[in-house]
């Protein structure tokens, strides 16, 4: 986690072919594959206001146009506005006074009034003439759209036009379709179906009402346009009063030119996202509902499941075509022992094969899903015609996996390194007895509980120039014990790891 905020020198290739540090990767426990932000499906989980931290149900959020009801942003500088209270002296209402008998006709009463103020730029709601409110939240006037009625009329008009068009088309199609039988059938002779006869004559059905065209007054063009005001050539303008483009876009409905028409903007909500694996549609990340909670209900981050590789140091000065070595520290985050095999990266053709295999796997899954759905449908409806794809699963397109852009420019000296990484056991930290040293392969430098340090020797490419970055790349095969199924099963998985080992130095 040393590289949480910085660019990491160790990165992993995701199943989709993008390269990311392990902190940005997820691990789907059902497909047993690495996933990244690009190849999972993002979903909106819950809405909340980032200022008052209130959870807002999605239906309400939609109704409120994704805005918080209580919080406002400054229209000038987009900072959060705060409600300020003042004491105002208001004369007591005169209709109360007769009951009290004599006394002063107007008694002064102090009252708490609220206005909005920006602590960033000193803008207040009084600047634009919004009257102070009795309550701090909820009563601020809505900024209405000036042409809303015209827009509604237009929308109604077009809806009617489209509906009419649709009905006419249906009518036309119905007349054009040839009658199924040449001779009148029994139902005709009984004279029961009036509508059928009407249809034969070509009359419209009684029950279907024709959509009436809605009238709308079209816009009238004019040749009387507003000329430039004469004072624009003589009067200096005060830039403080002219709104800038950001302020205008903050109020998209009217986009005022002057700052005295800027109104407080409702603060837009934020969301919590849940992530879903595209292949098996299981969640990989699901946050808790409560906005103040930063925990997850489901969290399948890769560094809980995949051995974490850390670059400790580069042993020798790197020269092109010469051998060098790096020291890596590997950590096993799982509760099971892992046996690890480090070997060369797949070649291009092998990689292409992998991609093909991946695509094929998706296709097979797709087919089995649709055929299974079709089977179940068949048993219900017993009509094979219904079992088309329309009723079963939606056709889905998948993102094509890509070839990894990152290329290693070294060759590993050993074809394979095999070793075991012990399980994670927090209690070993406190064990008194020192582990008895056991027979270790020579590349292992150090070992403690679930961590191991290894030396990885390699030879850099001849073609590298002074100053070029040496990229060490290897495939790490590791055994992973799947605990999702009832009986834990062991799998051999692999990850492609890329490490920046440093620059080539001159002689």
């Amino acid at each position: 986690m040393a590289n949480f905020m910085q660019n990491s020198v160790v990165s992993y290739a995701c199943t989709c072919g993008l390269v990311n540090p392990i902190t940005k990767l997820f691990f789907c426990r059902h497909c047993l594959k690495l996933r990244c932000g690009f190849c999972v499906c993002h979903e909106v989980d819950s809405h909340f206001c980032s200022n008052c931290l209130e959870n807002i149900p999605s239906s309400e959020a939609k109704h409120k146009k994704n805005c918080c009801t209580n919080c406002f942003n400054c229209p000038c500088c987009q900072h959060t506005l705060s409600a300020r209270a003042t004491m105002v002296v208001v004369p007591k209402k005169t209709d109360d006074s007769p009951k009290e008998g004599e006394g002063d006709g107007v008694k002064a009463v102090t009252k708490k009034m609220y206005y909005l103020s920006c602590l960033g730029c000193r803008w207040t709601s009084r600047d634009v003439g919004i009257p102070d409110q009795n309550v701090a939240t909820g009563a601020w006037p809505e900024n209405e759209c000036s042409y809303q009625t015209r827009f509604n009329a237009l929308l109604e008009y077009y809806q009617a036009v489209v509906l009419q068009d649709k009905q006419e088309k249906q009518e036309y199609l119905r007349r054009k379709t040839p009658k199924a039988h040449k001779f009148p059938s029994l139902t005709d002779r009984t004279g029961l179906t009036v509508s059928m006869i009407r249809r034969q004559i070509g009359w419209p059905d009684k029950n279907t009402q024709k959509a009436k065209p809605v009238n709308i007054t079209p816009s009238v063009a004019t040749d009387e346009l507003e000329d430039l005001p004469a004072d624009v050539f003589t009067q200096p303008i005060n830039l403080r009063n002219v709104s800038n483009i950001q302020q205008r876009h903050g109020q998209p409905s009217d986009q005022p030119f002057t700052v005295n028409k800027l109104y407080p903007q409702r603060r837009i909500l934020w969301i919590k996202r849940s992530l879903r694996c595209r292949q098996c549609e299981h969640n990989v990340i699901k946050p808790e509902y409560h906005p103040t909670s930063v925990k997850y209900r489901i969290q399948l981050f890769a560094n809980y499941h995949v051995p974490d590789v850390l670059l400790v140091r580069s042993e020798e000065v790197l020269h092109a075509g010469k051998s060098g070595s790096i020291i890596l520290k590997l950590t096993n985050p799982t509760m099971h022992d892992m046996s690890i095999k480090i070997k060369e990266l797949p070649t291009l053709s092998e990689e292409l094969e992998m991609i093909e295999e991946f695509k094929l796997a998706c296709k097979i899954k797709e087919n089995t899903a649709t055929s299974a759905a079709a089977e179940s449908l068949k048993s219900i409806t017993s009509s094979p015609s219904l079992t088309s794809t329309t009723l079963s699963r939606q056709t889905s397109l998948i993102e094509d996996p890509r070839i990894v852009q990152q290329k290693a420019n070294v060759k590993l000296n050993n074809s394979e390194l095999n070793f075991v990484l012990n399980q994670r056991d927090d209690s070993t930290e406190f064990d008194e007895d020192v582990q008895t040293p056991r027979e270790e392969p020579e590349f292992i430098i150090w070992r403690k509980s679930n961590k191991v340090s290894i030396r990885l020797p390699f030879t850099t490419d001849e073609s590298l120039k002074v100053g070029d970055l040496v990229k060490v790349g290897f495939t790490m095969e590791y055994t992973y014990v799947n605990t999702v199924t009832n009986t834990p099963t062991s799998h051999t998985l692999s990850a492609r790891v890329f490490i920046d080992a440093g620059q080539i130095l001159g002689e």
């Binding site: 993002h42 237009l154 929308l155 809806q159 830039l239 709104s243």
Partner: protein, 374 residues
């Protein structure tokens, strides 16, 4: 609101108008876009900010669209794009690669259920409820003129020129550099701010005086503070004359009034009068003060004095303009919103199923697509 209402309600389609400079986004059947954001993308790969439509390879464009739409859906609109309907307002003569890539991103990455492409000029005209008009779209990179008669676009009369917001910014920069302002301050956003807040289009009489080389008394100069660091002086002549590049007289006769007149003259004789009396200017660059009256005055002058136009446009010519509802910069978006609010979204969209079959977007310019519909 009752629960059943929210369950029964169809999710409103998302309407996008992706421009070179600004993107307008919102939901169908709403009277104004939710947001107007710069068309810039913060790359997820290295965190740099970059213009959306600036790309070297197809994959790069694809990734930029993914990042950009991800931001739109999860930061601004807060909806799940999956199984949603999308309306895209597009230029009829826009680049195929952008259109195809956008469709691929939406279908493959975001798994939307359908996309409806709405032609920009038609959408803009729809907000007026008139069937005929000549639509002038003044954007960031270009100005396009499309005559529409009885809701049919007259494509052969389409005109465009590369002056829009970008050309204006370049002109402001040129004049300021000439005035001796340090160039390192003049970023695109500063130039835009100067344009938006200080400049205007001057009237015809004064413009004529400028052309003759007898400049009238210039409007007052302005002191302009850059990022709280330096104060520059914006000359009054700059404020008045930067928009003159759209009205420049030259032998190519490609200034804005000529462009509109040429578009009108390329149309059949019978429709010309209807077009003359129904001119509609939209797009972000059209917001500037004084543009419409200047355009009208220039066109009126040309129609009366210029030999070519005088011959072809007979009778009493009166150029008439429509006013937009709302601001000009989202008029096309508004048309898309109207379209998305009707049943057309069901019948005229490109569905995912159709896209899977062909793996490409049907285009009006492709003859095989026309055969399929006929």
């Amino acid at each position: 609101m009752p629960l059943y209402e929210t369950v029964m309600q169809e999710k409103p389609p998302v309407v996008l108008d992706i421009g070179t400079a600004y993107t307008k986004l919102g939901f169908a059947a709403e009277a104004y876009p939710r947001k107007i954001i710069p068309s810039e993308v913060i790359l997820s790969s290295d965190g740099k900010t970059k213009a959306l439509l600036d790309y070297d390879s197809n994959t790069e464009l694809y990734d930029q669209f993914v990042d950009f739409l991800q931001m739109i859906f999860f930061k601004h609109l807060l909806v799940i794009p999956k199984e949603r309907k999308i309306v895209i307002v597009e230029n009829v003569l826009g680049q195929t690669i952008i259109r195809e890539t956008l469709a691929r991103v939406l279908f493959r990455h975001f798994e939307v259920s359908s996309i409806m492409f709405v032609p920009l000029h038609m959408a803009a005209l729809a907000t007026l409820a008139v069937p005929t008009g000549i639509v002038i779209d003044m954007g960031y990179t270009e100005t396009t003129v499309m005559p529409v008669y009885s809701r049919v676009q007259i494509l052969q009369a389409f005109q465009d020129q590369a002056y829009g917001g970008r050309a204006i910014h370049a002109e402001i920069k040129r004049q300021l550099l000439e005035a001796g302002v340090n160039g390192k301050h003049l970023t695109e956003s500063i130039l835009e701010d100067i344009k938006v807040r200080t400049c205007f289009v001057t009237n015809f009489e004064r413009a004529k005086a400028y052309r003759k080389g007898q400049p009238p008394a210039a409007p007052p100069d302005l002191e302009y503070l850059i990022n709280g660091e330096e104060i520059i002086v914006i000359p009054g002549t700059l404020r008045e004359t930067v928009f003159e590049i759209m009205f420049e007289e030259n032998n190519d006769r490609d200034s804005l009034p000529h462009l509109v007149l040429r578009a009108i003259l390329s149309c059949p004789v019978d429709v010309r009068r209807a077009l003359i009396e129904s001119i509609f200017v939209v797009g972000g660059s059209a917001i500037i003060m004084g543009l419409l009256s200047r355009l009208r005055a220039e066109m009126q002058y040309l129609a009366e004095k210029d030999e070519e136009y005088k011959q072809k446009l007979c009778g009493d010519i009166k150029f008439k303009f429509h006013k937009t509802i709302g601001r000009e910069n989202f008029t096309a978006w508004l048309g898309g919103s109207l379209c998305g609010g009707t049943d057309l979204i069901q019948t005229h969209s490109l569905t995912k199923e159709a896209y899977v079959k062909t793996d490409r977007v049907p285009d009006w310019i492709n003859l095989s697509d026309k055969r399929a519909t006929a």
